[in-house]
Symmetry: C2
Subunit: 214 residues, 2 copies
């Protein structure tokens, strides 16, 4: 799986160079305002090479998003390893972490492009990349839900896959709404998300085992 050949190594390195350059320029001058030519120049690469690696400009941004999601993975994992007792608090905090990670390197403008890409080219690479991105997040939720089920804090008969799809769906929808407008804060989005989460969980919450006696 490694691809240890020199060619593969150089490919990885070049792709990183381009992504680095793009990340810097996107966050500095914005997505629309930066030209592919400029990215190529900063990455010490010919413009044609950028197209060799990333078919289109939205695609390049998409891969950038994917890289961030990967880079932020350990942080999410460590969060899930140390979950708080209360499931509602756990999920809401996880939401907050995801939102914070999303905004850490990519602007709202960038996220708009990312969200729109799957609609503009339904069967293109962008859609597939977007799907991968969602899958990554969903896995975390499944793990998170299972943990609370094992602790007896969530109804064990609920299918974690279904529940995670529900949560990811609604939060993705809200995130889309959030980035689609220039006003509105992350806190507002999270507040609205909290209402949804509480509603969804209200029916399947379980009290802690040692409670009831006082």
């Amino acid at each position: 799986m490694a691809g240890g050949s020199l060619r593969e190594k150089h490919k990885r390195l070049r792709a990183e160079q381009v992504l680095d350059a793009a990340e810097h320029l996107f966050s500095q001058k914005g997505y629309e305002a930066t030209r592919i030519e400029t990215i190529a120049e900063k990455a010490s690469v010919a413009p044609a090479t950028v197209y060799n690696y990333f078919a289109t400009k939205p695609n390049l941004l998409m891969e950038l998003a994917l890289r961030h999601v990967h880079a932020a993975l350990p942080e999410r994992r460590s969060f899930i390893r140390n979950l708080p007792d209360d499931p509602v608090e756990g999920i809401l905090s996880f939401e907050r972490l995801l939102a914070e990670q999303a905004m850490r390197h990519l602007s709202r403008e960038c996220w708009r492009v990312i969200m729109s890409a799957q609609y503009l080219e339904p069967d293109g690479r962008a859609s597939r990349t977007g799907a991968r991105l969602n899958t990554l997040i969903k896995r975390h939720y499944i793990r998170l839900i299972r943990t609370y089920q094992q602790r007896g804090r969530l109804d064990a008969t609920v299918d974690p896959i279904v529940l995670s799809e529900l949560i990811v769906g609604i939060t993705t929808f809200q995130f889309g709404n959030f980035v689609a407008r220039t006003d509105g804060t992350v806190e507002e989005m999270l507040g609205q998300g909290a209402r949804n989460i509480r509603f969804i969980l209200s029916q399947i919450l379980r009290e802690p085992a040692g409670a009831g006696a006082a």
Copy 2:
């Protein structure tokens, strides 16, 4: 003169990579003991590429020497800008600096290869590079000699070019003898050099202008 194109830039970068790798390996494992293949691997380059840039292994070493001579140039220049009063002391100290610089990054084994290269391939690239190397050093001596002539400490009728060739010739000869054997210290070489320098200068030394009255 710059060659600002992308191709030229990459060429420079790759050459540096290879030289860096070679420098490290030569000083760590010795010249003969390091394989071209290893250099290429460390430089993230195909072995064939090393041959594209540096026709032969001795040639690679030669270019390495040239790079060092260039890198150490500012130090020599600054020495020549702050020459001591006494010409003998100035030249001997400069000799010491050159010897110290020569041994700083390249081992005696390496210098043996370098010195021999011009004999093994008289009209090859190695000979030309060696000549360039000598020219660089000679320029410094010319400048040094002129300075002392302007200060009135050296006979002004002596041709600096001739004198510098004499000095470079004799010291190169001694340096060759030094690296050609495994025993013998730098100090011994410098001591012998000092005798030569004193002899050469004895006829053309001039007393300082303000001297004689006491």
